[in-house]
């Protein structure tokens, strides 16, 4: 898969996210799949479902969401399990689980390239794959990530790995598409209440563009498939 360098790649300007690129339905076996890159960070996601689930994991009134995160190098560890819970819960709030009782929806995300803004890219890739698989959802979810560096009052959106190393606080927020409320928030580092709110508002505003991207990607995908069949 080609991961082209965005023009002027090294430092993104403070209040501008990096370029988004995505491809949908590239895997033939999965029900839905996508590959998404934010700047130089790339993830591939696949969705299977709703499908049969083992008896011991079955829930009688709703679908079970199984989320798996695979790192590129090495075995999955504690950090990966934590992300699985975090992103899995985020997806679970969006998916209409009660429409598919005693079934499971399996979401698998594979890290292809890691250069900052991992969690946001992971959530977005998972969601695009869910859209591709036509799993019923109550709203779309998109995430944006920003950091606060020392000395600067402006938060930096979609940081690269180099920028993340110098950050004093790192925040990822996921919003829904209908009311733009916070669905998931994950922060590390030290920050004040004001900074938190500012980052939240900035991410909320930037996020709206990600929803536009989702709509465009879906449009491309559906227009292509009409010609195919």
């Amino acid at each position: 898969m080609k991961i082209p360098l965005p023009p002027g790649n090294k430092m993104s300007s403070s209040s501008k996210s990096q370029q988004l690129k995505g491809k949908m339905h590239l895997l033939s076996q999965a029900d839905g799949s996508c590959s998404l890159s934010v700047g130089q960070t790339a993830f591939m996601a696949a969705v299977y479902g709703p499908r049969e689930v083992k008896m011991n994991k079955e829930k009688v009134d709703k679908a079970v969401i199984e989320f798996m995160y695979r790192p590129k190098v090495g075995q999955s560890g504690c950090g990966e399990r934590f992300w699985e819970t975090l992103v899995g819960n985020t997806c679970e709030t969006a998916i209409l689980c009660s429409l598919h009782p005693r079934k499971s929806v399996g979401i698998i995300v594979q890290e292809l390239q890691n250069s900052g803004s991992q969690l946001a890219c992971c959530i977005n890739a998972a969601f695009l794959a869910l859209l591709d698989a036509c799993v019923p959802v109550r709203y779309m979810v998109a995430a944006t990530c920003c950091i606060i560096t020392e000395g600067s009052t402006e938060p930096i959106l979609s940081p690269t790995a180099v920028q993340e190393e110098n950050a004093i606080a790192h925040m990822t927020f996921a919003f829904d598409s209908v009311d733009h409320n916070v669905v998931c928030s994950h922060t590390t580092g030290c920050f004040s209440e004001d900074q938190f709110q500012l980052c939240l508002e900035v991410c909320r505003k930037a996020n709206k563009q990600v929803f536009d991207f989702y709509r465009e990607a879906l449009r491309e995908r559906l227009s292509g498939s009409m010609i195919e069949c």
Binding site: M1, Q19, K23, K72, L198
Partner: protein, 433 residues
Amino acid sequence: MGVNFQRLDGRGTYDYRKITITFGIDRGCCHVQIGDTRVMAQVSCEVTTPKQTRPNEGLLYVNAELSPMAAPHFEAGRPSQQGVELGRCLERCLKESRCIDTESLCIMSGMKVWAIRVDVHVLNHDGNLIDACSMAAITALTHFRRPDVTVSGEEVTILSVEDQDPIALGVHHMPICVSFAFFHQGKYLLVDPNEMEERVMDGKMVIGMNKHRELVTLQLTGSMLLHKDQVLRCTQIASTKVQEMTKLIEEALKNDVHERATGGQFGSASSQDPSHVTSHVTTEKTMEEVDTEALRELARETVLKGRETDRESPGMTRAPDITLLGKQTGRIGEGGLSSWDVEDIEESEEDDVEMIADTNVKVVRETSHISKCLGIDSSEDSEEDVTETLAAHHLGVHESSRGASGDTTIDLTTALNQQKRPAPGRERGKVKR
């Protein structure tokens, strides 16, 4: 296969599907696609102690994973039979063939060596995983650059990428596997079986060779019987295929070197020209600027509004009062000194439901969520257990006494006396345990 002996996708007996090799930005990251089968390999390195039996040699770990995204029947966790087979085949192809010069990975004999790790992830399974994985692994190993080290006495310094150009691994030869599928007890054979052909084949043969026509691994599996000359014929077919694939890999590597030098998009090579428009269109979006100044105002307002609402409803967001009761004992909230006396019960939390062992009376603190639980499940009522819920006023607890001290003592003697006569507003129901 139909009566005219054509494959389902129209290929000939010895034809491969379209092979595409691309690289990632990281060194040692390689994607290979054979038809719809997609595989990704990533090479990484770290410094460890060598094996005791071979103190001068570095280590090579090959880890092949059948990701659950590749096929619906792949599960996470313990590798299945197919996973073990794939892993062993790759190990034999790469490790036992000594394709990497492990002696050059030694930093300090007996103490520190480089351990190279190849992680191969199968992303989509449409047949012929072994070929794709072997191609991806050896291409990634050739593409990888390890950092340079300087040794001064006992100290080893790993130089960063900016200081010194990283070094390539010593690759002696490039072994690639070719798979054959056999049908009807060895009467028909196919090269590069796709997933449907693999499901119905009788047996499989995997031949690993390099371009110098040296066999690296040969394995015949499955319940079928072959003749010696069939095996020899397959090796001849395999050697032609391996020559083609090696040429493709070398071309891809050359493109990548060229692109990295000129700063363009990183290298790739494809075995056939894309002759049809695919429906996999890439959507792109360049993000626009976000005006932070206006948002700063909005953020400030939200914070102030939040602080106001905090002041209005002290229950939820009031900062906890901490009282020091004595040495090493403090109290936050409703807790207090412990008491072993059964009659003197102090609640530790607002939502707690306490049970007294001897009696069947459950003392329930009246809070909003507990009251919703009442009367839900009367189907499990057992007639022996008479459970009553007592409202706070039955126990002589007054709302106004809640305050800074938060200390409530409930005197059960009044409660027990009241049980003898029906108390007003008694509700029958069982609180869910």
